[in-house]
């Protein structure tokens, strides 16, 4: 496997933190379980991350930081998330700084960057309100213009890190008449407020991430100076919606880290637990279940790493791409974690057994990812509203546009290609019908058709071409259906529209897998290049759309299971980029996994 520099930071962080299975490590499963049980905010752990200067990687280079790419970003968020989502989420609220990088003046950017680097500030996003949910325009927090600034009034709830933070990005209504131009965004330093003019709401008891500061903030004629306004009055909604495009894709990395741990701890159990003279991992059902979860992780990698890179290449398309990513990855991985719970048996439900109960903790913590920063329904709805435009644009593609799509896709999916600097100002509220991934499908299939069998088994290649054809047929059929059907605006979308949007996400994911494979066969190692995993991934994605698909050869599953066991034994990330994780100082739980050429089941 070639050295990919964008993964070095994640590897360094991983090594600095140590193996979380080792109770002596920082942020070990043992320690984070205690914090979670005590519902204590992980202050010391967060401090350690600041001292390690991880916050510098949230700040763009032109603002004095070290952020290079979202691909690097999602890799290190995954390293944090595989330990503990309390810590990962609490620290990563720093990604709201993207609002300042996108909409702030140079002075505002410098203020925030310096405060993050030197004063170790944290921030929260205060959009939601108790009575309005995701209806931002309906919000009732007001920002009344007064001399030199504004007076804030009202409450924001539920807000992650509302209490334990220094900065708050708050959306307030500046136009009493309301409307789409009625909201304004402010970047408020709470330390500069009169403490009598704002208050925090109590910590909310939650199912998962119990150590989180999930609370709220209220304002009572709270004066904020004009200098904290981001952009102009009335631009708040625009900034909010574009900012979500960034954070939605990044959220997928939380689920990826959590799923790695859920699968890893299940493997720890399955390799050592003996029943009926066999280990659990030798039993066909358990083995297939584990292999399927591994395939799901690889599929989500292709979607999320492609999207993380795509931000730099085609930011104007992210109203579509981030919606697909935020729906598909957390939803798929939530199901993967649920599926493997059966292998762990009763222990999946226990809070202090087997690896300090980390499975059930990840299961609980991970359940919030598909909800926050726009739920699955919100993301599918965003997609439904753009679906007709997507079909129209696809039907009208010209050869010149197709060539440009092909070039952009190569840059988005070739992990060895350098990426342009991300320009957040290029984000758009709608993609104008563009979605490179599915609109480059035909040219990608041509490439697949021209591929010589060298290095790839002919059976695999034929199967991939056949699956590629199915993706195309399904997409054509869906586009035709969309063109013929009456289009609904608003929130009265039918159940069937949501199902169609989910199918679109499946087709998008299947194509992302093929693209990732085509562009990185020489880069990501033999297992990746051989393509059996890809056949299985496409089969899993397409089978719900085509009941007639035949079962795949058992040997493909066996090879996937063996690769999974190899990565587990070598303490490597379950990923298309399986970088080295910190090894355990007490090897006892891992030695058995160096195993064995396991028999074909």
């Amino acid at each position: 496997m070639k050295e990919l520099k964008q993964y070095q930071l994640a590897e360094r962080l991983e090594q600095a933190l140590g193996n979380p299975s080792d109770p002596k490590s920082r942020m070990s499963f043992h320690q984070t379980a205690q914090l979670d049980e005590a519902e204590s905010f992980p202050e010391q752990e967060i401090d350690w991350l600041y001292n390690w200067q991880l916050q510098h990687y949230y700040i763009p280079e032109d603002c004095g930081g070290r952020f290079k790419s979202f691909e690097e970003f999602v890799a290190f968020v995954r390293v944090l998330s595989r330990r503990d989502l309390n810590i990962a989420i609490a620290f990563t609220t720093l990604f709201w700084s993207n609002l300042a990088w996108m909409a702030g003046t140079e002075a505002q950017k410098q203020t925030l960057a310096e405060a993050m680097k030197k004063e170790h500030v944290a921030m929260c996003l205060a959009y939601s309100e108790r009575d309005h949910g995701s209806d931002l325009v309906g919000g009732s927090v007001t920002a009344q213009k007064v001399e030199g600034g504004y007076l804030l009034n009202g409450e924001k709830w539920p807000i992650n890190r509302a209490t334990i933070s220094q900065f708050v990005f708050v959306l307030g209504r500046t136009d009493p008449a309301g409307g789409n131009r009625g909201l304004t965004l402010f970047m408020v330093d709470k330390r500069q407020l009169d403490p009598s003019q704002y208050y925090n709401l109590p910590k909310i008891k939650t199912l998962g991430i119990r150590a989180a500061d999930m609370s709220g903030i209220g304002f009572n004629n709270c004066f904020i100076p004009e200098s904290v306004r981001l952009g102009e009055e009335g631009q708040g909604l625009e900034f909010a919606l574009e900012g979500f495009q960034i954070t939605r894709s990044l959220c997928a990395a939380f689920a990826q880290g959590a799923t790695d741990t859920a699968l890893r701890t299940t493997l720890n159990f399955a390799l050592s637990r003996r029943l009926y003279n066999k280990t659990v991992v030798e039993m066909p059902h358990a083995r297939r279940t584990l292999a399927n979860a591994f395939i799901d992780i690889l599929t989500c990698d292709c979607v999320n790493i492609g999207a993380a890179r795509g931000f730099h290449v085609a930011p104007e398309q992210f109203s579509v791409w981030s919606a697909v990513d935020k729906y598909f990855v957390p939803d798929t991985l939530e199901r993967a974690v649920n599926d493997v719970s059966v292998v762990l048996g009763a222990r999946f439900y226990m809070r202090d057994e087997h690896d300090w109960g980390v499975f059930q903790k990840m299961l609980r913590d991970n359940a919030i990812i598909s909800m926050f920063d726009g739920s699955s329904v919100v993301n599918l709805h965003a997609l439904i509203l753009q679906r007709r435009q997507l079909a129209k644009k696809r039907a009208r593609r010209q050869p010149k546009q197709i060539a440009a799509i092909q070039a952009r896709l190569a840059q988005s999916f070739s992990l060895t290609q350098p990426l342009p600097t991300f320009v957040p100002q290029k984000l758009e509220l709608f993609s104008r019908g563009a979605d490179d991934v599915l609109q480059g499908l035909e040219t990608m299939l041509e490439e697949l058709g021209q591929l010589q069998a060298g290095g790839v088994a002919p059976d695999i290649l034929n199967q991939l071409r056949s699956f590629g054809q199915i993706i195309l047929e399904e997409l054509d059929a869906q586009d035709a259906l969309i063109a013929e059907s009456a289009f609904e605006h608003g929130h009265d979308q039918s159940f069937e529209s949501f199902e169609l949007a989910k199918q679109y996400c499946r087709l998008h994911a299947a194509t992302a897998c093929l693209l990732m494979w085509l562009h990185n066969r020489q880069v990501l190692g033999d297992f990746f290049a051989q393509g059996e995993w890809l056949v299985l991934a496409l089969h899993r994605l397409l089978a719900p759309l085509r009941a007639s698909l035949k079962p795949m050869p058992p040997v493909y599953y066996e090879h996937a299971a063996q690769e999974l066991l190899r990565l587990h034994a070598e303490d490597k990330l379950f990923s298309i980029v399986p970088f080295q994780l910190a090894k355990s100082s007490t090897q006892e739980t891992h030695n058995h996994a160096t195993a064995p050429e396991l028999q074909l089941l």
């Binding site: 131009r181 919606l241 509203l385 435009q389 129209k392 709608f430 605006h489 608003g490």
Partner: protein, 96 residues
């Protein structure tokens, strides 16, 4: 200069502003399933249940029809059919 060749109205004497207004009224009555005669071009679009993202989507349809790239927030900034139509004719030199 953009030609409104696909206008729902083929009336040669119709002004560009009126043509755009007619098209928006027809779109709105279509997508919101309301009688076009009940739509007042001077009323904010939100009154008819068109929310923020709907308004952005409608700009996409407008772009298709006019074959122009428009600001995605056009219907936020010009929130009535009358204002949006006038703006389009003035800023983009659209003609019938």
């Amino acid at each position: 200069m953009q030609q409104l060749q696909n206008s729902s109205s083929s009336n040669q004497t119709e002004s560009p502003v009126t043509a755009i207004q007619s098209w928006l009224v027809s779109q709105l009555s279509d997508v919101l399933s309301i009688d076009s005669s009940t739509i007042d071009v001077k009323q904010p679009l939100t009154r008819y249940g068109l929310d923020s993202i709907d308004a952005v989507t409608l700009v996409g349809d407008l772009e298709d029809w006019l074959d122009l790239e428009l600001p995605s927030t056009l219907l936020w900034d010009y929130p009535t059919i009358e204002k949006a139509s006038t703006y389009l004719v003035q800023e983009f030199d659209v003609s019938v």
